[in-house]
């Protein structure tokens, strides 16, 4: 589910933010920003501050992005993985698209129940001498306690919306949000505990070696303060740890046979 076509990704991003697509050619995208998007992306807070103060509605800019490097023209922005613009968009997504409540879209004329799921996308970072990340998309059925992995992959072709379909009703969760989330964390803890942690052992070994060298270096000196400072730097650099970082999550109401 990684981004594999940046052009489509950007098209979807601006469309989802209700920006009019002025031009969508091979490798080039021009959008008319909305005020909200202009404020989010164009770095001109003073413009918006003064224009509003003067009672004008303001004029959001158009933005042209080149996604195909062959089409670079020197006039418009080339956007690519790593360009500040994409970085900005990714951060905007990160900050604004964290929580959701969604309902599966169901076409029905009979009453239909939708069951509550807590879904969390969690990035697990393993930090030793080096660092690596792993993503886990996990779902918990808040009535019967069933747990599923790869939820985002499972759901990607489903139609989900922010409002409930006609004739549908929701089942009230039996498991409270907090305890549900604790269950998810518990499962992740077991998951990481069961792994081989050679990376952490290596890191601890290097840490011990460097602290040992350091104490030899300072053995004749009285500079205890510097030594403590440097020991703490070594610990900071090498102490292995694992970090759970929730990218986003939400309450999903899905039809019984959904997953």
């Amino acid at each position: 589910m990684e981004i594999n076509d940046l052009h489509t990704f950007l098209y979807d991003y601006f469309t989802a933010h209700h920006c009019e697509i002025v031009l969508n050619q091979n490798g080039m995208l021009t959008v008319q920003l909305t005020e909200e998007m202009d404020r989010a992306l164009m770095n001109r807070p003073f413009y918006w501050h003064y224009i509003k103060k003067m009672g004008h509605p303001g004029e959001p800019k158009q933005l042209t992005l080149i996604t195909n490097p062959e089409k670079r023209d020197g006039k418009h922005e080339w956007i690519h993985y790593g360009s500040p613009r994409l970085h900005q968009i990714v951060n905007h997504l990160r900050d604004h698209e964290k929580y959701t409540k969604l309902f599966e879209r169901v076409e029905t004329y009979k009453n239909q129940a939708l069951f509550p799921w807590l879904i969390a996308n969690i990035k697990i970072s393993y930090q030793g001498k080096q660092k690596k990340d792993e993503m886990v998309s996990i779902g918990l059925h808040l009535v019967n306690g069933t747990m599923r992995l790869k939820m985002m992959e499972e759901l990607q072709y489903k139609e989900l919306q922010n409002t409930i379909s006609d004739y549908c009703y929701t089942i009230t969760p039996m498991i409270k949000l907090h305890s549900g989330f604790k269950r998810i964390e518990k499962v992740l803890e077991t998951y990481v505990d069961d792994q081989d942690h050679d990376w952490a052992l290596q890191s601890q070994k290097t840490m011990a070696e460097e602290i040992d060298l350091l104490s030899h270096f300072y053995k004749n000196k009285t500079d205890e303060e510097t030594m403590q400072k440097e020991i703490s730097e070594i610990k900071k650099r090498y102490s292995p740890y694992i970090k759970f970082d929730v990218i986003n999550g939400g309450l999903f109401y899905l039809a019984e046979n959904a997953v």
Partner: protein, 550 residues
């Protein structure tokens, strides 16, 4: 395995509950998925490798830069001395390492200490090449306001900055020209050592020829104890590198914290320097004025006379202007005839030859270096007379003007005429023809000139043309100094440390005094010859000791 600390995300569930309570705002399914996709794309699924390479598609890294960055991160765990020879792109390696750590979320706060003259260039390179939002230090910023700050050590160590900086916890400390920290008794050294840092990169071009104790000091910033403690190190290896014998163990240790690429072991090697010395003769009138000046021993102090002679070899204008400044009641009678004679001189032989050369190069870009402002102005005029468009470049230009001139040169003008001060900092890889219109007396400055074009990013062989006039001081400098130490052919990246080794602080005044204290040109020749022999010898010794780094 037990005892690995797990840091959980404590804010998510509380904030989500709050959002449910307030009935939103909730993401749409599309945007929710897109955030997930973006997070999947930006994470680093492997301990190894450089994720940064995917993020910098516009950069054309050289093999050794990529392998150096990987080595610094994966083997040295982010604390390394980067000691490539001049022009191989240490800055690029450092930028790549910093970028990788930032992408992986391991570095947020970084302090970059560089020489004052390079602060702006570092900022430009990090921003433009690496999209690292680095700012240069300004009085109005508090030190905790920005994440990546570039400053000079003189600013940083001054109160009140010093106190504020020492309070920060830096994820990365980067020091350019770190050989200046070699002495552990200096305040600069103590200051850098006391900074709180996680990762640390020390950049230097000349670590190896330094006394071993200096390497010891650099290493003690990165990894104290790696080379043992101070006393036992001194006992074992001695203070003076000249007394050193090959020590395989020490070499191995140093290699664990130092990365050194040389032109010989990189792809860079295939870019050749083609050197051509162009010998010219003065016409009879010029020769007459030259001799007139040369014989006026009683009129000018010896060192002024040498300068005037050098200037005459460069342009009438340079010499004329200096002479005008010297005229006073005492000298008027003797100087006047010379200035009058200069006024009668034809166009300079070098200028005519320069035009001839440039026309031979067809439309290729050419950079001309001269020592004198007056020559620069004259040449610009003379080239224009001959239908060649050129732009000037001087150290005194402000940054905006420098950038503009560089751009004009790249896009419009065929020729850039730079005076010596222009030698530092400007990168002109798109040009591979260089004319040394006159020669500086400091070989370091010559190396810097050539380094403008013969550097990382140069794709073609470099052609260097050196002009010298027979039977003048230029001939001595050319044959006895430059050709003898083979400066044009090989890069003596270590020249500054060689000179330091010989206790020559200012080679220019050294040569000046050779000329001014010699009673005949034969005597000057012998002395100059001796000087280059000593430089050669020291260079050879240094070469032998290179193995400590390579």
């Amino acid at each position: 395995m037990r005892h690995i600390d797990i840091q959980k995300d404590t804010s998510f569930v509380n904030e989500f509950e709050e959002t449910l309570h307030t009935e939103g705002p909730f993401s749409s399914w599309k945007l929710f998925q897109m955030n997930y996709q973006a997070a999947l794309t930006t994470m680093a699924p492997s301990f190894e490798g450089l994720k940064a390479l995917d993020y910098l598609p516009q950069m054309d890294f050289m093999e050794h830069q990529i392998s150096s960055a990987r080595k610094a991160i994966e083997e040295m765990n982010g604390r390394a001395i980067l000691a490539d020879e001049v022009g191989l792109g240490k800055t690029i390696e450092a930028g790549l390492i910093l970028k990788e750590y930032m992408l992986r979320g391991l570095v947020k706060k970084a302090l970059i200490i560089v020489p004052a003259s390079l602060v702006n260039q570092w900022a430009k390179e990090l921003n433009e090449k690496f999209y690292i939002p680095a700012v240069t230090f300004r009085k109005s910023y508090p030190w905790d306001q920005y994440d990546v700050i570039i400053t000079s050590i003189d600013t940083a160590k001054r109160s009140p900055h010093r106190e504020q900086i020492l309070e920060q916890d830096y994820d990365m400390l980067l020091v350019d020209e770190a050989h200046k920290l070699k002495n552990h008794k200096t305040k600069n050294f103590a200051f850098v050592k006391s900074l709180k840092k996680k990762y640390c990169l020390l950049l230097t071009a000349t670590p190896v020829q330094n006394r071993l104790v200096e390497i010891f000091n650099l290493v003690s910033i990165l990894k104290p104890g790696h080379l043992g403690d101070y006393d036992s190190f001194l006992k074992q290896y001695g203070k003076d590198r000249n007394s050193l014998k090959e020590d395989a163990y020490l070499k191995q240790l140093v290699q664990k914290v130092m990365i050194r690429n040389t032109r010989q072991n990189t792809q860079f090697d295939h870019i050749k320097r083609n050197i051509e010395t162009i010998w010219l003769d003065f016409g009879s009138e010029e020769k007459k004025v030259y001799e007139q000046l040369d014989n006026s021993t009683d009129t000018f102090p010896a060192f002024s006379k040498i300068t005037l002679l050098r200037e005459l070899c460069s342009s009438r204008e340079a010499c004329y202007l200096s002479l005008k400044k010297m005229i006073n009641a005492n000298t008027e009678q003797k100087v006047e005839p010379i200035t009058t004679a200069i006024e009668q001189l034809p166009q300079h032989v070098k200028a005519a030859k320069t035009v001839e050369l440039i026309k031979q190069f067809n439309d290729r870009k050419v950079i001309i270096f001269t020592e004198y402002r007056a020559t620069q102005v004259y040449l610009q005029w003379y080239l224009k007379e001959n239908g060649i468009l050129s732009v000037p470049y001087r150290g005194g230009f402000n940054k905006g003007k420098k950038d503009w001139m560089r751009q004009l040169f790249e896009t419009k003008a065929q020729v850039l005429i730079a005076t010596e001060a222009g030698g530092e900092g400007i990168n002109l890889q798109f040009c591979n023809y260089l004319i040394n219109y006159d020669l500086p007396w400091n070989p370091m400055r010559l190396e810097q000139r050539i380094g403008r074009v013969h550097r990382y990013g140069q794709k073609n062989d470099v052609h260097i043309f050196n002009m010298a006039i027979r039977g003048t001081v230029e001939e001595h400098i050319m044959t006895l100094l430059y050709e003898k130490i083979k400066l044009f052919e090989q890069v003596i990246g270590n020249l500054d440390s060689i000179l330091a080794e010989l206790n020559i602080n200012d080679i220019e005044s050294e040569i000046q005094s050779i000329f001014s204290t010699s009673s005949s040109s034969g005597e000057a020749k012998i002395k100059l010859n001796n000087l280059s022999s000593v430089i050669n010898l020291t260079h050879q010794q240094a070469e032998q000791e290179e193995h400590y780094g390579n």
